[in-house]
Amino acid sequence: MAERVYIDADVLILGGGTAGCMAAWEARRTGGEDLKIVIVEKAFIRHSGCLSAGMNALNMYINQGKPEDYVSYARYDMCGAPIREDIMLSVANEVNDTVKIMEESGLPMKKKEDGRYLNRGKWNIEINGSLLKPITAAKAIEARAEIYNRVYITDLIVKDDACIGAVGFGVRDGKFYICRGKVTMLCAGGAAGLWRPNNHGDAHHRIWYFPFNAGSSYAMCKRAGAEMTTFEVRFVPVRTKDTYSPTGTLSIGMGAPMVNSLGQAFMKEDPHYVQWGGHTAPTPIRAYGFQRETIAHRGPVFMDTTKGDPAKVTGIKGQYLDMSPSLVLYWGCNDIDPSKEPVEIDGGDPNIVGAHAGMAGAWTRGTSRETTVGRLYVSGDALGGAPSRFISGSWTCGRITGRSMAQALKANSYDYADLEPALVDALEERTFGPLNNYLGRAKEGLWTDGTLMSGISPKQMEDRMQKIMEEYCGGRTRWYFISEPYLNIARRHIKRMRNDQLQYLCARDLHDLQLAWDVINRLDVCQLVVEHISFRKETRFPGYVLRTDYPEADPDYDCFINSKWDPETDEVVCFKVPYEQIVPGDRRKETI
């Protein structure tokens, strides 16, 4: 038995990232001085997660118009698809306040001569955001949240349809952590690494999304019995080739359009794309444009930076140093001068996210951020149905979640639940399962290279999972094409891995145990993705999922696809949930 650490909190926050830190801050403001707020973080809070490399812009800011106009934009950018307009509006109403709070906390904002924030495009503002994460973490520290670093949460504890806490292990100390929360917030990011990355070997993680977000938010919600939404909308990044750095910096900063190898600015010139909105078409359509041009042998596809002002190149490099420094060196070591030659772009491995141009996550009640499991709240990438919140929207969404939790604590007499010793023992056994499995199986023999004769490493299992998803669930090398016969194979293998093969999963140390849990969680997310894509028998987001058996959008699927996992049968049961339009107007157009 491992040494045990018991933690009790009024507000238990799992994940010290963009949303979690600001939730702590707002929970303190709303809940008062006596509230006990705990953040459990799997890495080190000052430098963890998606923000670790920094960011050069905030992509949600109401520069013009009203919050409703932003909701209309987010809806348009998802091809007019159903989004949770109630949630989006709640975020848009407060996002500008949040940015002000962060500026006051030390975030350097770029400004115009009139003192207003320097905008980049309609909804974006430029920042010097290389220290975005330490600045964000400082808000949690300011709120006197008790922070536990290097603790990996493995499962939520649910009793009578309510979440009463969570368990996990110390990545460094190997202790078993048992946390009880009067309310619990899960905000542990989205899911990278379900499909094969383009680069291999020592560049295996040179991918767009933060590779250490392994879908634990989604997997734990799913296992806790929460209703999940929109796992069929996967985000396919089309970014600078090899480094997967953002292209907005080029398209807006250098006025660079996407061009094919014939020099055609196809999004603007080809009527096939113009009907979708041209060069400002929804994100899935711009991904589709890249794919279609390449498949039609008009690749490679570039961002044409050569028509822009060459004097701007130095500034562009500086912007990349604030969020994706490797690109600057990549140009330097590939003889690329963006003012003289166009910058090649490529499609990357798909990602499951809730707050970028995707909207997978847990379904929530009204604007409370409470899931269908009582006292379990979500935010950031873990929250479903509300795309295009990005960083500033996730900060804001975190604040709203923190406030909502503090209000729920005032309105209800929630108390700590008693944990049955047998349950805690069972959770401990499960948490350390792969580690103990290694010790057991090591006795059965090792090969001369030191690997187990009768066990599988987390890396091997990840490779197998990525191969299945790549080849049968529309990976990059399959041009994102999917159809039911392929999905049936993916379903069979993912099921087999989850139900039959996990018994062989072995972790030889605590770092390996983290990787083992990453793959367990990713496999749960794969199951959600396969079932959701299979259920949506249409193509609504062409660049994200191209269903060759149902290539057109079908009005019957103009709704959310939600699901619930049945632990008895291991089936993910999908069903339709109607969409409610709040902001009036044509859903396939922006209001401004």
Partner: protein, 114 residues
């Protein structure tokens, strides 16, 4: 850019309970070699290139190079972290040097301007 630590500079952050690079790595990748007492990246392919360790190293022992599969040799990108800014030196594969000073925090000087 998997981090590489220079053995002549890395001292394993003696006196710290764990080296700073190990403390900050979001992927739990930096660790101390038990025999040499120097830091290294346990799985270079798992690094996301966030450069947090490179910036955090008090002895500037960690260096950034690109994976050879995606870029030519040699070339370096060196961040020098100051109080309110970071100075980047980029040396391309022909030895050409570029320097960039990027603001990282609002400084007292900025407040005076306001």
């Amino acid at each position: 850019m998997p981090p590489k630590a220079d053995p002549t500079k890395c001292d394993g952050c003696q006196g710290e309970s764990e080296p700073l690079c190990e403390q900050v790595c979001p992927g739990n990748l930096m660790t101390l070699d038990k025999e040499t007492r120097k830091a290294y990246c346990r799985e270079p392919g798992d690094c996301w290139d966030c450069m947090t360790c490179t910036k955090a190293c008090p002895r500037q022992a960690i260096q950034t190079t690109l994976q050879y599969q995606i870029a030519y040799f040699p070339g370096k990108l060196i961040p020098l972290v100051g109080t309110n800014s970071v100075t980047w030196t980029s040396i391309d594969c022909h030895g050409r040097v570029e320097r960039f000073v990027m603001k990282t925090l609002v400084s007292p000087d900025d407040e005076d301007e306001d």
